[in-house]
């Protein structure tokens, strides 16, 4: 590893045109081995989409080749078709946005019939995100998905409210989170990632609980709970009152979560996300301990963001003389060798 002395930047919204003109004479892009292993699954590269920010991949096809990504993470699917909430469903916030979609989707039957086969036919690896209101729903979804062609991993979105437990979110309770993971693991033929919420007092405790219950890895972070009030109507902007905050605004929180969990559970694979806009943003997550990253809200700013982030990451690694992506995973926890 050869960190450079020169100064680079995490991105605001877009890379600034002037900051990367200098060449540091590192290795050429092509020689960087971008292969990563996420929860035992080998991926050609570490850049994925984020659940809910790429639908089931098809809408992105005009802008990128889904097979060129590490994997496509699909919008969380539920057992039944869901309408989602009333509108307005979003509000822009400084360097971020709130969403309150309410998990609109076609349900698992339509997903298995139309969406997953489309991804498989394109040669894309699918990380299928599942969500439910009860442990049984999660288990049933895992059962339905078992053996489906194209399925690489399951991502368990435990950030939805637990119907049985006064609406408390699974991911906020170590026991409820573990129950879901255990039930999904019992049914799943592929590795399982538990997706964690940052809105907890101790994310390491939730992480540990999921791992103990059998999670093969962790995805983090989901959105932060936020709210905007309309200063003309004097009422909440979102029909759902509160919504999930995403985008660059939350990146420092996301990097911190990945760092904390990797420090406490260094052997546990992490899919990192939260505000990634550029290759250098992705690099921060890898250095903090993520084996791969999801690019979410950035897609709304730039539909080709995931492939751009991948290309930028490759270039930045090459500039730093890195030949294997896996060498940087967790590197921020190690004292630099001089």
């Amino acid at each position: 590893m050869m960190p450079l002395a020169a100064h680079d930047h995490e991105s605001g919204i877009r890379e600034n045109p002037g900051s990367h003109t200098h060449d540091h004479g590192g290795t050429s892009d092509a020689t960087v081995d971008m292969v990563t292993t996420l929860a035992g699954t080998v991926l050609p590269n570490p850049v994925l989409t984020a659940s809910g920010c790429a639908a089931a991949g098809r809408e992105l096809a005009p802008f990128l080749d889904p097979a060129a990504l590490g994997a496509v993470v699909t919008k969380s699917v539920l057992l039944r078709p869901r309408s989602g909430r009333a509108t307005p469903r979003m509000a822009e916030t400084p360097s971020g946005m709130l969403n309150s979609i309410g998990l609109q989707g076609p349900g698992i039957d339509a997903f298995l019939e139309h969406d997953l086969p489309w991804l498989a036919a394109r040669g894309a690896r699918a990380v299928v995100s599942i969500a439910g209101g009860s442990v049984e729903e999660f288990a049933e979804l895992a059962r339905r998905l078992a053996g489906a062609p194209g399925l690489a991993l399951l991502e368990v979105n435990i950030s939805c409210p637990n119907v049985a437990s006064r609406g408390q979110v699974f991911a906020c309770d170590p026991l409820a989170a573990a129950d879901v993971v255990r039930a999904v693991k019992a049914e799943s033929g592929v590795p399982v990632l538990a997706k964690l919420s940052p809105d907890v007092t101790d994310i390491v405790a939730i992480a540990g609980s999921c791992v103990e219950a059998g999670a093969d890895g962790l995805s983090m972070i989901n959105t932060l709970l936020g709210m905007v009030i309309d200063t003309d109507t004097f009422r909440p902007v979102l029909a759902g009152v509160t919504g999930g905050l995403s985008g660059p605004a939350i990146r420092p929180v996301a990097v911190r979560c990945v760092w904390q969990v990797h420090a406490a559970l260094p052997g546990v694979p992490i899919l990192g996300m939260g505000g990634i806009l550029s290759g250098l943003d992705a690099l921060q997550f890898l250095l903090a301990g993520a084996s791969a990253v999801s690019v979410g809200t950035a897609v709304f700013h730039d539909p080709s963001a995931p492939v751009r982030v991948l290309a930028e990451l490759r270039t930045e690694l090459a500039r730093r003389g890195i030949t294997r992506l896996s060498d940087v995973v967790g590197a921020a926890h190690r004292e630099p060798h001089r």
């Binding site: 919204i13 890379e15 509108t87 469903r89 979003m90 822009e92 969403n99 979609i101 609109q104 539909p303």
Partner: protein, 277 residues
């Protein structure tokens, strides 16, 4: 996609922005829109802003949009100087449907909503249709394209709410006179949602098919985020929350459940699954 601002000039209450954007100009059809990144390289404004295409010329590679200053994004845009690079995605969305046969069309535009109708009028006339236009707004300076209208349409009615120019009243006040006698084959409309609803209802009462281009708050503009939905009745009679960015912005007015926009009707597909969580 990188475009460049060629000019940016006031046009009544709006700004007419011309962009050099060959890739957009190449494939654009009337009713489609572009999504522009706003605020410059260090912007805190994460989301793109959508604008209907006013013109798109594949020959010159130029496109034009008409921008009303509204919030911070449009405030930035109306001040952007010629020469500035502008990141745009497009053309996006479903365009207006051109008829297979020539006929008589009534095009109704409210405020900057008239912008996409002039290219539509040209295309309709090119296939031999007769085009009548109604261009309306709250007041004179909020009218857009009345001069254009006269060059592309067989007849033009201008309305303003305050009567400062043209006929005092709403665009819908002009519709009975057009739809009644003339054997109109289609109505096309773009403008504020309340106007679209009224135009759609009037067209329905005369049994004339009507297409409208709606305007819903959009986060992605490309169909991946599900923010831009409205309740629309499908061919199967089932209502669904439908994405206006990719399945619209042009809809059959008769299928949009206007009075339920902004709510979650209980009979919409999947509304029953919303209980509890």
């Amino acid at each position: 996609m990188s475009a460049r601002v060629v000019s940016n000039e006031p046009a009544g209450a709006y700004h007419l922005i011309t962009l050099d954007a060959p890739a957009v100009a190449a494939g654009a059809e009337p009713g489609q829109f572009i999504a522009a990144a706003v605020g410059g390289p260090q912007t805190a404004l994460l989301l793109r802003r959508s604008f209907a295409l006013y013109t798109a010329d594949p020959a010159t590679g130029l496109i034009q949009i008409v921008v009303a200053e509204h919030g911070p994004g449009t405030a930035w845009l109306v001040r952007v100087r010629p020469g500035t690079p502008l990141d745009v995605v497009g053309p996006l969305g479903r365009p207006f449907t051109l008829p297979a046969e020539p006929g008589t069309a009534v095009l109704v535009g409210g405020g900057y909503g008239s912008a996409p109708l002039f290219d539509l009028a040209r295309r309709l006339r090119a296939i031999g249709s007769t085009v009548h236009m109604v261009v309306g707004a709250g007041s004179a300076e909020r009218l857009f394209g009345t001069a254009d209208a006269r060059t592309v349409a067989d007849s033009v009615v201008v309305t303003t709410d305050d009567g400062s120019v043209g006929v005092r009243g709403l665009v819908t006040d002009a519709l009975p006179g057009l739809l009644g006698p003339r054997g109109v084959s289609a109505v096309y409309a773009c403008g504020p949602m309340a106007m679209l609803r009224a135009v759609g209802e009037t067209a329905a009462s005369y049994d004339v098919p009507c297409e409208v281009a709606v305007e819903e708050s959009m986060a992605c503009g490309i169909g991946v985020c599900m923010t831009c939905v409205l309740p629309v009745v499908g061919v199967d009679g089932r209502s669904r929350m439908v994405r206006s960015c990719i399945e619209g912005p042009v809809f059959d007015a008769g299928r949009v459940r206007w009075k339920d926009v902004g709510t979650l009707p209980v009979d919409v597909l999947g509304a029953d699954a919303m209980d509890g969580h």
